[in-house]
Amino acid sequence: MGRYLLRRLILMLPTLIIVTFLVFALLFLSPGDPVLMLVPIEEVNQLSDEEMDQLRSELGLDRPIYAQYADWLLHVLQGDFGRSIHKRRAVGELLAARFPVTLELAILSVLAATIVAVPIGVYTAVRPGGIGDIIGNIVALMGVSAPNFWVALLLIILFAVQLRWLPAGGFVRITDNPVEHIERMILPVITLSTALMAVTMRLTRSSMLEVLNEDYVRTARSKGLAQRRIVLVHALKNALIPVVTTVGLQIGRILGGTIVIEIIFSLPGMGKLMLDAIFGRDFPIVQASVLLITLAFMGINVVVDLTYAYIDPRIRYGS
């Protein structure tokens, strides 16, 4: 296992280098002088041409691009993402405050989606063509097609405006008031989990259907095992393997989806930080957020790969 992990991490190196380079290169994507991305525009406007040149060399922008990249990467590896243009604070500090909120949202949503979707997927697979199966399929299709900001608004109108059961948004720290914290997380988590729930449900169903046709399931049946035991013990274990992959891949979508959700529910996470930075043209924050979200996504995929070994004894990594 240790060897597999090591090999996996080494294989990730080229991808990591290109990913970090692309994030670095975002600086040159914006039309206009990169200086404008790193210094507030009011300050730039007051500078003479000579002072601009001086500023450029201070920021290292006059050096070849690979040198700038190496320099930037070296700082990032030490946790130094530069300073925010407008907030006058280290970007690392800002991220440290925001990242946990996004991570909590993402983890809760994945958990909620899995807990709901897998049992329904299994249920519909055991009775294909039944009424539950048909309803399940329709709901899944709706889940994939609904824009998550629209789902969020529907939930707010129903649960916050009409029924007044839950607050429409805002954030309370878990340390300040755990109950209110959870209350304010419920609607965002439901919203984020709908699409994932739909995908997971459909996949569990088709994967389960496939496994139920395998020889070993027939053997189990002919041994006279109860249907319940066959489905839940014998079939489910194998059926879950492709489901784990998909859930892992969908986490990227969840991490991205948090951007929209944090805006709607006014949650102080990375997504809101990033979007505010985009509108405020605070480039170092945008750069660091994209990098952090992407690295989190890549890390999760490694974890997903490793879980295979536990679920599926046919795969023996590193041997």
Binding site: V19, L26, S145, V161
Partner: protein
């Protein structure tokens, strides 16, 4: 469907692209294909909805009851009525008219990014799969890196850094769509290049270029069409999301996503401002997904029972 019929169908669909120029006495392959696609009610329904959306978009200037842009403050936030069937928005503009004009944006949102992804992604994938060796290796590492980014994060940052505008948003969506399509095309090309007809073409002295254009490409088109059709819904959602965030279309022009964003502030007093355009996105995307599913089933009989 009778067995003889279905055998003929799959035979013609398998040779779908290469026989499309034939004009024999048998029904044209597209007719056969359409018959199969519309044999079931859901794709028929989805197709009808999409036709309505497309018609509404095309005819918007003639059938819209009101000006979609000019505010009328005396009519602000009116609930649906006989004058304004879908109500009015925060500054009194008729929502039905804005939905009709917004449909144009959604259609454009489907076409421009797709064209970018297809025109760049498919040739890249073909080349990569055909040349193999180090060009393929480099291309793959690069695509891996692009695919490592969560899609919407990359779209939002590219669109944001290019500057908020509809065209920039669509370009960003198109750029991000290149990698998955290139990867798919490469995979298809790799497996197609193992086929006998490619070996035969090579033995006859065909160049790589000719093999790619005349032999491999026509044989992988069907699979590409299916994947692309299943992506269209996601692309429209991406545009709506960007417009909702303010990174897409700029006011006063209507897009369904930006209309939802405006109504966000009036959920308590005038929920229809958000609900109507949100529902329009939902119904359109669902129809596209239904039609995509139908297309997949009709083009690939083996997948039908999945």
């Amino acid at each position: 469907m009778r067995p003889v019929d279905s055998a003929r169908h799959s035979a013609s669909v398998a040779g779908y692209a290469s026989t499309s120029k034939d004009s024999g006495s048998a029904p044209h392959v597209f007719v056969l294909f359409a018959r199969r696609l519309f044999a079931r009610p859901l794709p028929r329904f989805a197709f009808a909805v999409l036709m309505l959306v497309i018609l509404g978009a095309l005819l918007a200037p003639w059938i819209s009851p009101f000006d979609p842009i000019k505010p009328d403050f005396s009519a602000a936030r009116q609930a649906p009525s006989s004058t304004h069937p879908l109500g009015t928005d925060d500054i009194g503009r008729d929502i039905l008219s804005r939905i009709l004009f917004g449909a144009r944006v959604s259609l454009m949102a489907a076409l421009l990014p797709l064209s970018i992804s297809i025109f760049v992604g498919v040739p890249l994938g073909l080349l990569s799969g055909l040349l193999k060796g180090w060009p393929d290796e480099i291309m793959m590492r690069f695509l891996d890196a692009l695919l490592a980014f969560p899609r919407i994060v990359l779209i939002i940052s590219i669109a944001g850094l290019l500057g908020p505008s509809l065209v920039n948003a669509l370009v960003a969506i198109g750029i991000v769509g290149i990698a998955p399509l290139a990867r798919l095309t490469r995979g298809l090309t790799l497996s197609a290049s193992e086929e006998d007809y490619v070996t035969a073409a090579r033995a006859l002295g065909s160049s790589n270029w000719r093999i790619m254009i005349a032999h491999i490409f026509p044989n992988i088109t069907a699979a590409i069409i299916v994947t692309v059709s299943l992506d269209v819904g996601g692309i429209i959602l991406a545009e709506a999301t960007l417009s909702f965030l303010g990174l897409g279309i700029q006011p006063p022009n209507p897009s369904w996503g930006s209309m939802v964003a405006v109504g966000n502030r009036y959920l308590q007093t005038a929920p229809w401002i958000s609900l109507v355009p949100g529902t329009a996105i939902f119904v359109t995307v669902m129809s596209i997904n239904l039609l995509g599913d139908g297309l997949r089933d009709a083009l690939d009989p083996y997948l039908r029972n999945r």
